[in-house]
Symmetry: C2
Subunit: 328 residues, 2 copies
DNA sequence: TTTGTAAGATAAAACCTTTTAGCAAATATA
DNA sequence: TATATTTGCTAAAAGGTTTTATCTTACAAA
């Protein structure tokens, strides 16, 4: 790369001191009693040569980088992709820049990423944590690095959180299935993960089914399996238990459930899934959705983190966002 | 944040000089004739206190940040999400870290992002450019910043590129539709954009249709329109022209086409789309795909950029990757 | 004994900012 | 007139690295 202009180039070319230029560029001209004439001269020159301060040096000196690390499991999941989008927008409004990374369920990689971001003096973290990250996140918190968790908490990490009303959402979703006359055998498909949001969704399902005294029909899928195997397991679950309605704990599972239903020509009357997917309105039977309020989650996450960075938050806040049922 | 250990803390605590510690940490102990005993002592201590060098200071001094900026139109598009994933992996193997951003068709924002990345001494850029970015990208190139474009070139930007064989892909896709006995009226749905990959796909479609002397039936959609309006336009296009097969230029358009077909109960025998989508195998009729070789694209992009950073590339390379037809 | 060389380490400059503390001249106050 | 205050600006330190040039000591060669 070509050499860039530095503040001292500006100062030299203008015959003033570096300090003066710095004050002016940081809007402290008045406060530091720099004359208007000089202020204008510097500003004009800076504009003319299109000088941009070196952010590294700035961050090194100030200790602030005005950037936030966003860590999610998989950015190609539409839920995370969308939330990342909104978080980026809100953060930008607060003058922060997001750098994001997928952790891909790889604990080692996740830890490296957190370290990497920390090394670059990230001002704070927004994390949808995977299990096993408790220690490294607790280290951040111990080092007084602002952290907000979303989508799921970690049981042994005490910090700000933004969660969806998982129990209530799954309960409403199940009730919706129950309202269909035909539904007698309602299955729930989740993952083997012990992540709290998954537990909440299971709980909501159970609560609803227990309400009417129906059988609990639950399948836990190992997401590490090959797609083919997942589809086959879902086929077995659906056909053996003669399900006529299913609640999926995530859109990823719903997609695989649809594959099983299609491939094996199974007959299921009603489907509903947590989170949306562009396919849900296009398939037969259509998939209703328990849709999380992505915009609200993003907004709250950013609010909590920014306030924390600015030292405006005394004690940990735990925000819970309701979700919305999209019937199809 | 709590104060972090610095290299001089290490040096002081050990009673050696900062220089020595730096040499050792950068693997230059031998070369700089530091004794093995001291080397070990320093390394052990560094490990014990878990010291990590400040990357900002490092970058400031060396001018290298070991990170690459990845700019795409929309990270929530599965094509870009997947490619980002792979690029991240390959870059990581070369010791580079990716920071990525969606530009969201917002020219102003895109320019800001490029400036922002540049200000942070990004080592290079990987960009799927939108129109109107020519100037700012040319500025980068003029400043000798390594740049690789992918998915689409910019007519007036001269740099390394990695593209998919769009013409050939669309040609093969159209031929596939033509092989279906029933297909007499084959439509092509694209965007109003003049992006080169779109032009290539149109060209491939035309070539195939011209081959057999069929009518050209082309609809250009404005992606800025509300979804509802897009669906309605597609409905009109399909029904007025009595299409029995359609080639979509992107998965986003195919999804909306499916909505139109479903909503208005249209009858179309065969569909094919550029890029994949999880819905394509689940809907009726299923959507075949002209699938880009995402892994190969990612690998080539990273290879070109890294070689460029290391000054190993004399003249601009233009890599073209074939795509694969997934018949459904 | 002197000179040369290798070994082992380091001081200080450089990268580019921000910010503290202070200087000189002009003006106001006593 | 002498002193205090304000105005306008700046030198230098600090932030944490890397790297160049140099220094000291020990030993070998002449």
């Amino acid at each position: 790369m070509k050499k860039r202009l530095s503040i001292s180039d500006i100062a030299n070319n203008l015959g003033v001191s570096v300090t003066t230029v710095s004050f002016i560029l940081n809007g402290k001209a008045k406060e530091k009693r720099i004359s208007e004439a000089l202020t204008k001269r510097v500003l004009d020159y800076v504009k003319k040569v299109d000088y941009k301060p070196n952010q590294l040096a700035k961050s090194l000196r100030t200790g602030k980088s005005k950037s936030i690390g966003l860590l999610v499991e998989d950015i190609s999941n539409p839920f995370f992709a969308n939330i990342a989008d909104h978080i980026e927008k809100f953060a930008y409004d607060h003058g922060y820049h997001i750098i994001y990374c997928s952790m891909k369920n790889d604990e080692k990689r996740a830890k490296e990423l957190i370290q990497l971001f920390y090394d670059r003096q990230i001002d704070g973290f927004i994390i949808a944590p995977t299990e096993g990250l408790s220690d490294v996140i607790n280290n951040l918190i111990k080092s007084a690095v602002p952290v907000v968790l979303f989508d799921r908490p970690l049981p042994d990490v005490d910090t700000h959180t933004v969660m969806t009303e998982n129990v209530e959402g799954a309960y409403q979703g199940t009730m919706y299935l129950l309202e269909q006359k035909s539904a007698k055998r309602i299955g729930f498909v989740t993952t083997i993960s012990t992540q709290s949001q998954m537990k909440g969704r299971l709980e909501g399902y159970m609560k609803a089914v227990d309400n009417v005294g129906m059988d609990l029909l639950v399948k836990k899928i190992n997401p590490a399996l090959e797609e083919e195997e997942v589809v086959s397991q879902l086929h077995d679950f659906i056909s053996v238990n003669k399900l006529d309605a299913i609640l999926f704990a995530t859109n990823y599972l719903a997609i695989n459930g649809l594959k099983a239903i299609k491939e094996y020509k199974l007959n299921v009357d009603k489907l509903i899934s947590f989170d949306e997917n562009s396919a849900f309105g296009l398939v037969d039977p259509p998939v209703s959705a328990i849709s999380q309020n992505i915009q609200e989650i993003a907004q709250q996450v950013v609010r909590l983190l920014v306030n924390q960075i600015n030292g405006k938050l005394e004690k940990n806040e735990h925000v819970v966002i309701p979700c919305k049922l999209i019937a199809r």
